[in-house]
């Protein structure tokens, strides 16, 4: 799903646009940009252009190329924001109708141009991959950013065909340049066959969500800036009360809440995590992929030893199960419920009865879960052994033998005979008030033992003791 490392957006050199850029007119900024390009001051160029400046194809081209040079020269030292700027400008330019002006084969065939464009895509990808590999674990997010945007722009560019009116920008640059509403309207509202171009309806919703009102929050999530994404959600809530019935918006909102909720869970903010993950339910229509993603994140092996996390996961899954009882939900719910119950029982927080109740529910959710079945068997056997002990301690040997006989667990029968051995020892050490009550007790014990397992070796021993007691009574 989402990247873990937050972009260091507050680095000194990228802190804010140059004061000149803010105060200058667009024309001044354009001239300055060209001057900087000609003077090869490529590192400073990113600070010059603002918002709609990027709509000018030459401005976009200058930024695409300057950011390529910066990334090549900076290598592993490049700031994450520089890498993201490169991805946005490079891709937006490669998918721009004006690209052909810059291709060496501009007088060549469309096929030549297409191949050249593919080479440039490959060059950009190489650059991003090299950077990502140098960043270690945190680099994965840049590859994901590149791959997601390439896939998105490829699909959308196929939709427009000839004579397109709208330049196709990556979601992030579209927001920056202020054309997001137009892209959204054109590709997701007006274009025929838009939905069919995607693998499924969910892919269409996910793509449109990036250009919908919830897009900025989604883009923050992509950068791993969860707190900022939450603030963005709060601002949205104030503005529209989250009442936007748009399906793209609803899908994007669920994506953001899942990402932020899971981040809160990782950070140990359990209450917040639970609140966020439960309030997003039921998931919007056509979100089976999102559901899978959520289930995989909740039912994770590394959560199995953390009671607090498991409690949140069980609550979320309980709520999710009320709205969606798919096999996948049942499977995850069963797994998490089992691990929670076993852990709580081992820690002495949950008694045998509670464990059995939980395990009954878990097995009913997914009878194929081996661990759940095993834990259920253990819980049931423990409950029967407890009942056996209670009846035997109360002297109700007939009832105890019925429990042992009825049980499908060998352990329960074993416990009956262990208890029987204890009774015999008491009798043999003459711990009984009198021989007569001992005789009746052992006779009852023998009858019970015969019921439970007539071939058990203890049966013979009990019978011998009974004979002995009978002899003793007769001699009296």
């Amino acid at each position: 799903m989402v990247g873990k490392n937050q972009d260091n957006a507050s680095s000194k050199k990228n802190k804010a646009p140059d004061l000149l850029a803010v105060t200058a007119t667009a024309s001044d900024r354009a001239l300055l940009l060209v001057q900087f390009w000609q003077a090869e001051r490529v590192r400073k160029m990113r600070e010059i252009s603002l918002g709609s400046d990027f709509l000018h194809p030459v401005v976009l081209e200058l930024h695409a190329k300057a950011s390529y040079i910066v990334l090549k020269e900076e290598g592993r030292r490049a700031e994450p924001t520089e890498v993201r700027h490169f991805i946005d400008c490079w891709l937006s330019f490669l998918f721009h109708p004006d690209l052909f002006r810059s291709l060496s084969g501009k007088r060549g065939s469309a096929e030549q141009q297409r191949l050249e464009c593919l080479d440039l895509l490959e060059a950009g990808e190489k650059m991003v991959r090299k950077y990502a590999e140098q960043q270690g674990e945190g680099g994965e997010q840049f590859i994901r950013h590149w791959e997601e945007d390439v896939a998105l722009l490829k699909i959308l560019s196929n939709l427009v065909g000839e004579g397109r009116e709208i330049p196709l920008y990556t979601p992030s640059l579209a927001w920056q340049a202020g054309i997001v509403a137009d892209i959204f309207a054109h590709f997701f509202r007006k274009t025929q066959g838009g939905q069919e171009a995607f693998v499924d309806q969910e892919g269409f919703l996910a793509a449109g969500a990036l250009y919908s009102g919830v897009g900025p929050a989604l883009l923050l999530v992509r950068k791993g800036q969860y707190d900022a994404a939450k603030n963005e959600l709060a601002a949205l809530r104030k503005k529209s009360g989250e009442k936007n019935s748009d399906s793209f918006f609803a899908y994007g909102l669920a994506q953001v809440k899942i990402a932020c909720g899971l981040d809160a869970l990782e950070q140990g903010h359990y209450e917040e995590a639970e609140e966020m993950l439960i309030e997003l339910l039921p998931l919007p229509l056509h979100s089976s992929g999102l559901e899978q993603e959520l289930l995989a994140a909740l039912d994770q092996e590394d959560r199995y030893l953390n009671v607090d996390e498991l409690i949140v996961c069980v609550h979320v899954l309980t709520s999710l199960h009320k709205h969606s009882s798919t096999k996948a939900v049942k499977k995850a719910f069963c797994s998490v419920l089992t691990h929670q119950a076993v852990l709580l029982h081992n820690e002495g927080v949950l008694d045998g009865k509670g464990l059995l109740t939980s395990m009954e529910k878990a097995v009913s959710l997914n009878p194929d879960d081996e661990f759940a079945r095993m834990a259920f068997d253990d819980a049931q056997m423990d409950a029967e052994i407890l009942a056996l002990h209670q009846t035997m301690s109360a002297g109700k040997l007939a009832e105890a033998s019925r429990i042992a006989k009825k049980s499908s667990y060998q352990g329960v029968a074993d416990q009956f005979f262990i208890f029987a051995a204890q009774v015999m020892e008491q009798v043999e050490t003459e711990d009984y008030p009198d021989d007569e009550s001992a005789f009746f007790m052992i006779r009852q014990l023998l009858e019970g033992a015969l019921q439970v397992d007539s071939k058990h070796r203890m049966v013979q021993e009990i019978a011998l003791l009974l004979d002995k007691l009978e002899d003793r009574l007769e001699t009296l």
């Binding site: 024309s27 354009a30 060209v34 390009w37 000018h56 004006d98 810059s102 080479d119 009116e165 709208i166």
Partner: protein
């Protein structure tokens, strides 16, 4: 560093001109031998040269022309504006 600037040649330079410019740059000693060798190597390889041509060549005239006109509408560049730029190319 821009290899064309480093060797003081145009993007249209032939392989022969690249070799000559490299020799001259070495004699002039304005850049390190390593940078000159790297620039020459990149420009002599057709695959890397195509990318370098793309990266280091920008026709800024349309932008300068728009900026020079004062561009009252520059700050509200619309899609129609983009179309106009298309026609200028």
């Amino acid at each position: 560093m821009n290899p064309y600037r480093l060797l003081n040649i145009s993007p249209e330079a032939t392989p022969r001109e690249i070799v000559q410019a490299s020799a001259l740059a070495l004699r002039e000693n304005k850049h390190s031998a390593r940078d000159i060798a790297e620039a020459r190597k990149q420009l002599m390889n057709p695959a890397t040269r195509r990318l370098l041509d793309f990266i280091h060549t920008v026709d800024v005239e349309p932008l300068l022309s728009d900026a020079g006109e004062g561009l009252a509408s520059f700050e509200q560049i619309s899609f129609e504006r983009v179309d106009i730029f298309d026609k200028q190319v």
